[in-house]
């Protein structure tokens, strides 16, 4: 194993241990859970932007609609949490299939605009249909008991479920990226005409990548509903789509851990500053983003990796 690979392993192990003992360090578990939900959302988004080269500007549609589906199923249909999560992810995967099938017909900015336009339609639907609670959103979603056995009402039980789901999803994403399928995604990102000339029907690969990304983004949204107990319009709002792009770029697009790191920074800042500076928090995050894009374009984790690679030579 190379030195860099070893370092990465040690870092991941350290982060995992940190995540496992976080509640004992006095970190507020709901905060860490929220952070992990958004970290998962950003990692799912990065599967598309970082590893396939597709910029979706409508990922809130997947995050938010899964949040609603899970909330409604658990609250009104008395689903168990695991089924609610699964159904949420499946629902957004299905929406992803439809949105993706339309959007992948175009490239670049047109692709982004189509995803944005459809996401706006999803937003409108969420505002109008009866089961979402309109302006009020879905409130008071109970956490219930996992498999009907383990009550998630305690933050500790909920916390370890969130950690487990995040770790499993993170590993799933790393597997997808390195799989034979992931190799084709890399080809599409690197040189799409060449991938076509080698005989790959790139649209099918892009569509599958889109569906996987949407389903994982949905899982993040569902999990968020379960943790916080509500799903609201801000989950499907276009600014959520913007936020996930920001998190991903800040942390490092195309790196495995960068998006999670970026999500951590954004959520932590929002959390720390919200009651001190009010809506100025948007301005502060904006400034950080501009500085990041100007000074270290690969994002924080991306620059760190580049630095380690240079030192290795």
């Amino acid at each position: 194993m190379t030195k860099a690979a070893k370092l990465i392993r040690v870092t991941y192990l350290g982060l995992l241990i940190l995540a496992l003992i976080a509640p004992m360090l006095g970190l507020y578990p709901v905060f860490v859970m929220k952070l992990l939900c958004f970290a998962l959302f950003a990692c799912a988004f990065n599967l598309l932007l970082g590893f396939t080269g597709l910029l979706s500007f409508g990922h809130a549609a997947f995050f938010g609609s899964a949040a609603y589906v899970t909330g409604w199923l658990i609250k009104s249909q008395h689903f168990t949490p695991e089924l609610g999560l699964l159904a949420g992810a499946l629902a957004s995967g299905l929406i992803g299939l439809v949105v993706g099938a339309v959007a992948i017909r175009r490239q670049g900015i047109y692709f982004a605009m189509i995803t944005l336009a459809i996401a706006q339609m999803v937003y409108f639907v969420c505002l109008q249909v009866p089961f979402t609670g309109g302006e009020d959103g879905l409130q008071g979603v109970p956490r219930g008991a996992l498999f009907g056995l383990i009550s998630l009402e305690s933050d500790t039980a909920m916390y370890y479920l969130v950690v487990a789901i995040f770790v499993a999803s993170f590993l799933a994403i790393t597997r997808i990226v390195s799989s034979p399928f992931g190799q084709v995604l890399k080809m599409i990102r690197e040189n799409e005409p060449r991938a076509i000339s080698l005989g790959y029907q790139v649209d099918r690969y892009k569509l599958l990548a889109f569906v996987l990304s949407a389903a994982l983004a949905g899982l993040a949204g569902s999990l968020k509903t379960l943790v916080m107990g509500f799903a609201t319009l801000s989950d499907v709002h276009w600014s959520m789509s913007g936020e996930v792009i920001l998190m991903t770029l800040l942390g490092g697009v195309g790196t495995f851990f960068g998006p999670a790191f970026g999500a951590g920074i954004v959520i932590a800042l929002q959390n720390m500053l919200a009651d001190k500076v009010g809506s100025w928090v948007t301005v502060i995050i904006g400034v950080i983003f501009v500085l990041c894009v100007l000074a270290f374009r690969k994002g924080i984790v991306g620059e760190l990796q580049a630095y380690l690679r240079r030192r290795q030579r």
């Binding site: 597997r175 034979p180 399928f181 890399k186 040189n191 060449r194 000339s197 080698l198 790959y200 790139v202």
Partner: protein
């Protein structure tokens, strides 16, 4: 199989809003030949290439490969039939290693390219074959290098190795020596000659030294139409061709030594 010609175009035309880029081209490519397509800038060579590989749809006419009409097929489908193209600028995957570039082509035939749950190690058995292909183009020592770091000539060699990995019946090379220094041109020319064994090559090429040394047959395009077709010695003396290139019939075609 109709043995003599591997590829035929019949009345192939492409118009862009009234401008005729390719005008009723009837081209026959003989199996086993290195066939060169030449012509001055803007003669429609690249457009013609894009038609053959389905990156553009023809306005009229048809393309027949091995007796099958492939005019309306999708580009990836055409590639699967055994027509693989290269591009004018080097077509590599820059942020993958040299070995991974070749593996990318080999992987297609495994049929596992949609398997997103399988580990990368299921592809490792392709490395032996990939290294063989790299050795054929003298790149064996660069296998683990990131492709973006290779010099231009080596990238083109890598592109050839990747193309060869697909075992194409017909290779379409779009200006394989463009933008190269002398030593690279010679190397790539020899490579093309070497890999032409057992397959057919149709290439667009500007460099007359390359064309005269390896092409079995030459077709000259001008303003989208064929003005000459035949072996080099014949074509290079054709007054139409000399005029198209030099603007006058007094000079012999450059590089005809």
């Amino acid at each position: 199989m109709s043995a003599e010609y591997i590829l035929e175009t019949r009345g192939l035309s492409k118009e862009f809003k009234g401008f005729v880029a390719v005008n009723s081209v009837d081209l026959k490519v003989q199996r086993g030949h290195i066939h060169a397509l030449i012509g001055p800038n803007g003669a429609g060579k690249t457009t013609f290439f894009n038609l053959l590989t389905k990156f553009l749809l023809p306005t009229r006419g048809s393309i027949v490969f091995n007796g099958n009409d492939i005019t309306t097929e999708a580009p990836a489908q055409t590639a699967r039939r055994g027509i693989v193209r290269s591009f004018q600028i080097s077509a590599v995957f820059p942020h993958m290693t040299v070995l991974e570039n070749v593996r990318a082509a080999l992987q297609r035939n495994l049929g596992t390219s949609f398997h997103f749950w399988k580990p990368e190690s299921t592809l490792f058995h392709l490395h032996d074959r990939a290294r063989q292909l790299l050795a054929e183009v003298d790149l064996q020592d660069f296998a683990d290098e990131l492709t973006v770091n290779l010099p231009y000539g080596r990238k083109r060699a890598l592109e050839l190795a990747t193309t060869l990995a697909l075992e194409p019946e017909l290779m379409l090379l779009d200006e394989p020596t463009q933008g190269m220094g002398h030593e690279d041109v010679d190397r790539v020319t020899q490579l093309i000659k070497k890999v032409s064994v057992g397959r057919t090559i149709l290439m667009v090429e500007h460099n007359m030294n390359v064309v005269s040394s390896i092409a079995d047959r030459i077709t000259v395009l001008q303003r989208g139409a064929i003005i000459a077709d035949g072996p080099y010695a014949e074509v290079s003396k054709n007054p139409l061709v000399i005029e198209a290139y030099m603007g006058t019939v007094d000079t012999a075609l450059q590089g005809a030594h």
